[in-house]
């Protein structure tokens, strides 16, 4: 095959946060039916793992797609410091208007990290538990204000 050889860098981060799955557009009964125990009004928490994948040319001087110190600082500032030991519903502005399912959390993390200036963001994977994982590649971004 003559296709170009591509290299991606993957890095995993962790944070712990709480959420409650509840939609203002559904009745109390419907919320309970749809979200089950995740609808508990007091919320509950997870240890989330975020896997960030970036691509780009490997700099011949450094051998790197992006300096890990830059990537770590960016992810820590944009995601970990904002979400860690917080309640998505109460503490993160984006989730006052949308349900903090891990689908939505994954897309929000992608949106935040897409501004990383040193490499191209390819994919964000969020593991809510070791049994649930969500991935987003930035395709088909909905109008976030329309999501509720």
């Amino acid at each position: 095959m003559s296709d170009e050889l591509k290299v991606e860098l993957g890095r995993r981060y962790r944070f712990a946060a709480s959420h409650r799955l509840h939609s203002e557009r559904l009745s109390e009964d419907e919320n309970f039916r749809v979200y089950g125990k995740c609808n508990n009004p007091y919320g509950h928490g997870h240890n989330y793992v975020v896997e960030v994948r970036v691509s780009g040319p490997v700099d011949s001087a450094t051998g790197m797609i992006a300096n890990l110190a830059d990537l770590d600082a960016f992810v820590n500032r944009e995601v970990i410091e904002v979400f860690d030991h917080r309640s998505f519903n109460e503490d993160v502005a984006e989730f006052r208007e949308q349900v903090p399912t891990t689908e939505n959390v994954c897309m929000e993390i992608f949106r935040r990290l897409n501004a990383f200036p040193k490499a191209k963001l390819e994919r964000v994977r969020v593991e809510e538990t070791s049994n649930n994982a969500f991935e987003y590649t930035g395709k088909g971004v909905p109008d976030r204000r329309a999501v509720r």
Partner: protein, 140 residues
């Protein structure tokens, strides 16, 4: 198409240093990875091969043969070695995860003749990896 992944591990030491840069620049860019005495990792390599299963054997690739290729091309070359000094293919390159993964791809691609090499993923630690693939064969 079926995708088959085989995992192997090796341990090696390395350091990051570019002789074209000043000592201060090396320190600034590479941080503690610039320690002249080097440091080491337990690397985990995942190699994914794709193809149609052979109608007689039911296999995309004989796993025993794939294991032998990985042992010969990667483990014998890199396991318990100092990557900067002892791996010919990495000479003149900084042995980052990106560069090692690319070297491994180039070593393996011509050797894998049953099926086709689809992806090489090299973990330097559970939280850091590089992945190599042909642009036309990107993952779905």
């Amino acid at each position: 198409m079926v995708y088959l992944t085989r995992k192997i591990e090796f341990s090696a030491s390395h350091l990051y240093h570019n002789p074209a840069l000043s000592a201060e620049e090396n320190k600034r860019i590479f941080g503690k990875c610039n320690n002249p005495h080097g440091h080491g990792h337990n690397y985990t390599l995942e190699v994914t091969v794709t193809g149609e299963p052979d109608p007689v054997t039911g296999m995309v690739v004989d796993l025993k043969e794939l294991k032998e290729i990985l042992e010969r091309e990667v483990v014998e070359r890199m396991d318990h070695r100092f990557l900067n000094y002892e791996v010919e293919e990495l000479k003149g390159q900084i042995p980052t995860c990106e560069n090692i993964a690319r070297v491994i791809w180039k070593l393996l691609e011509p050797k894998i003749t049953q099926g086709r090499l689809f992806k090489v993923r090299l973990y330097e630690s559970p939280d850091l990896f590089a992945e190599c693939y042909r642009s036309g064969g990107a993952e779905g």
